[in-house]
């Protein structure tokens, strides 16, 4: 399974190379315009000058004007800095089974039926349910989704098997979850990185995905080509394979949490 991400490609550096530069440029531009009125020094200087040489009335007017300018500048500054990141991911889904993920919060929701409104006939979804240990199933027959629960979701941090009758490219659209928590129950769960990054699973951000790895944890990555799993486990404080798993963009995977339930929390900040 390969994936191509347009706004935020791979790793933290990818965010730097796409969205952040725009915000930095905006930040610089706005600072130049704001400097005369926005800094404390300038404001005090104006007030001091007029208190000595002009009437109190004019001083008050100037103070008010300066305050309004400062407020305006602050308002315009708030408009300059984006507090979110939106984009899309073009994801290649091969024919047959694969384990997919959606790293973007879709609007209005992340239901499978919303994310895939016009799926190919015969498309199937098997979403792992940690509570039962089995799957919740949906499929497309006669052009419509059917299944016991049509509210199944695929949001950031979640994962599912998909069966595609033929290979296709799907475009996920939405907002990056800047603050996210993926719950990892004891035992098996099917998860993904909440952020659109392909990095070492357990390294600390920004070099890694910040997964809270612990002794005995296991990771199973599905290989669509073979139909089997790529297995790795964390034993004696190290990965059996020598290197940590690196899930791809758009890829979900099984995790076996050897301990008690724990959260996988990520925070990604944008702006100043």
């Amino acid at each position: 399974m390969s994936a191509k991400k347009v706004l935020a490609m791979r790793g933290e550096s990818c965010f730097d190379s796409s969205v952040i530069p725009v915000q930095r440029a905006l930040k610089k531009c706005s600072k130049k315009e704001q400097k005369p009125v926005d800094t404390r020094q300038t404001f005090c200087h104006i007030a001091f000058t007029h208190r000595n040489k002009l009437s109190h009335m004019r001083t008050k007017t100037l103070l008010l004007t300066a305050a309004l300018c400062a407020a305006g500048a602050a308002t315009s500054m708030a408009q300059v800095y984006s507090v979110n990141m939106v984009g899309y991911i073009n994801q290649s889904i091969p024919a047959g089974f694969s384990m997919i993920a959606n790293h973007l919060n879709n609007s209005p929701d992340n239901r499978i039926t919303t994310l895939f409104p016009t799926p190919a006939e015969g498309t199937r979804i098997y979403k792992f349910n940690p509570a039962t240990g089995g799957f919740s199933f949906m499929q497309v027959v006669d052009g419509a989704w059917e299944g016991s629960d049509l509210t199944l979701t695929l949001g950031p941090g979640e994962g599912t098997y998909i069966f595609a009758p033929a290979a296709f490219t799907h475009t996920f659209v939405g907002e990056v979850a800047l603050s996210s928590t993926v719950n990892l129950p004891a035992g098996f769960s099917m998860v993904s990185s909440a952020l659109p990054q392909s990095l070492a699973l357990d390294g600390a951000p920004p070099a890694g995905l910040g997964f809270p790895i612990a002794e005995g944890d296991r990771v199973y990555q599905f290989n669509p080509a073979t139909g089997g799993f790529i297995f790795n486990q964390f034993v004696d404080g190290a990965w059996d394979d020598g290197t940590p798993p690196v899930p791809g963009i758009g890829e979900s995977f099984y995790v076996f949490n050897a301990g008690t339930a724990k959260p996988w929390t990520r925070t990604f900040s944008v702006g100043p």
Binding site: G134, F135, V141, G147, S148, F256
Partner: protein
């Protein structure tokens, strides 16, 4: 002994809350090409939302329990004739221990004639049944399709004569009787 009672109650409560396995009750996902339900003696695949498939399960083929949630067959224009619109079915009491072998069977009845599966059984209204087949609770992590009923094989049902058909038969019988007189 008194100390043991709360412990036993706790163990009992835990046992009653043990998760039961959930299977995917859909025959169109079975890989074997022989997974369609057909009309007896023909290759015509069954359609009709009045026809309902019910999953029966148990540890022994001789004592199967019905999951009473029926699954309707598809409309006559469906591209997936011969299959039913199923879904997730919980096999209550079977647990979820990997390696557990469960025996399964599929029955078909007409919901226009019987209000539910029990009524159809009581009234002799089962139109057809699959062979008993097995399913083994898989070991995690689950491979894709691990909850599908891959050992299911298609079967035939005996179609019910329609009301009009019955009427015609009756009229023909009356006509024959009158001619004999």
């Amino acid at each position: 002994m008194k100390k043991l009672i709360p412990l036993l109650v706790l163990v009992g409560a835990m046992a009653s809350h043990a998760q039961d396995w959930v299977v995917n009750f859909n025959n169109n996902v079975v890989n074997d090409p022989n997974h369609f339900v057909t009309i007896q003696g023909t290759t015509t695949r069954v359609t009709g939302t009045n026809l309902q498939a019910v999953l029966l399960y148990g540890a022994n083929a001789s004592s199967l329990t019905a999951n009473t949630v029926p699954a309707r067959f598809r409309v006559s224009t469906s591209a997936s004739a011969g299959t039913w619109q199923g879904g997730d079915r919980t096999l209550t009491g079977m647990g979820s221990t990997p390696g557990t072998v469960i025996q399964l069977r599929v029955d078909v009845f007409d919901i226009n004639r019987f209000a539910n599966y029990a009524a159809a059984v009581a009234g002799g209204g089962i139109l057809g049944s699959s062979q008993v087949f097995s399913y083994v609770i898989p070991t995690p992590p689950l491979a894709p399709g691990a909850t599908d009923l891959q050992n299911f094989r298609g079967f035939e049902i005996v179609p019910e004569p329609s009301v009009i058909g019955l009427g015609l038969v009756g009229a023909a019988a009356l006509f024959m009787l009158r001619r004999r007189k």
